[in-house]
């Protein structure tokens, strides 16, 4: 697994994946599937935004599988993480867990943040398991927070603070 900047040539693949409701029903931005032009605008805005760090996630074989982003609030030494494995064939292989670990390490080690937080659909058991493996803790439940296909669902808010954090290489050092 490897993180790298998103390139313009990745965008058509994202647009194809984002047609799939089975994927998009879990995403915070739950609108209609984007056109290639809208996806380009999204990428362009992210690149111009000093408070966003966006990576593409490549599988060990070097195939694009998803994205992970940190949205920074530097004055509070905090960031919000958003991660998605878009390629359903790559679900349940631990790629998201590995990517999230790398990004959390980066946030604490390189960016010197105090806190990384995220929100996820309460029913997204696979994602919640992944976040808990990384060290995120359930901090709250936002009631009726999201309308998904006509039904209001709850959103879980999770956080990891510097005191919770176990750096990736600590085991090998001890």
């Amino acid at each position: 697994m490897r993180l790298r900047p998103v390139q313009e040539r990745d965008l058509p693949q994202f647009v194809r994946w984002l047609q799939d409701r089975e994927l998009t029903r879990w995403l915070a931005a739950i609108g209609d599937p984007p056109s290639l032009e809208e996806e380009y605008d999204w990428w362009h805005d992210k690149r111009a935004d000093p408070d966003s760090i966006l990576w593409a996630i490549d599988s060990p074989e070097g195939r694009l599988v998803g994205t992970v982003e940190l949205r920074l609030t530097m004055r509070a030494e905090r960031a919000e993480m958003g991660i998605a494995i878009h390629d359903k064939a790559q679900w349940n292989k631990g790629l998201g867990t590995d990517a999230a670990r790398l990004v959390v390490d980066y946030a604490f080690e390189e960016l010197n943040l105090n806190r990384v937080e995220l929100t996820t659909d309460e029913e997204n058991a696979r994602a919640i398991r992944c976040y808990e493996k990384v060290g995120f803790v359930r901090e709250g439940l936002l009631r009726q927070h999201r309308l998904v296909d006509g039904v209001f669902g709850n959103t879980l808010i999770m956080g990891i603070v510097r005191d919770d954090w176990m750096p990736l290489d600590r085991d090998s050092e001890d």
Partner: protein, 181 residues
Amino acid sequence: MNPPVLAGKTVRLRPLRPDDLVLVQRWFNDPAVRYWLHQSDRPDATSETVRNHFWRPVEEGRAVAWLIETGETPVGTLRLLEIDPHHGRAELAISIGEPDQWGRGLGTDAIQQALGFAFHDLGLRRVSLITDADNARGIRCYEKCGFVREGLLRAHRLRHGQPLDMLTMAVLKEDWLRAYA
């Protein structure tokens, strides 16, 4: 969007105007007021920062904002932010900028008027806020207005450089109707 004037028992809410921003700036620059604000660690506000942070979302239609008055005296602001018609939700932000008016129930009265507007006129079903976990006066006020504690966000912001926990709270339309209909 220009909200209507709302009249409570002790306060009146009228749409915020650009010429109110000088007051907003003075309130922000009072250390006793800023202590409780999410941006407490920012430097003193200038007319430019107030315009960018406070006024621009109103101007661009992403927020509605009122000036809170009691009698003829302006005492603070109340805003609905991140209004999301699809999910039917918004965030509420209130600040009483005159410390000698604290503890009189003005904030409670103002919030109750704004919630009525949010649920009945905007058709929202959820209004949320986050507040410092040690802001006992604020939390008591929010609970009186029907807000429920939904979670504790650890080290969510800094105050004087120190990490500070924040409480996330929300009131649902159904709770509101049960309590006040």
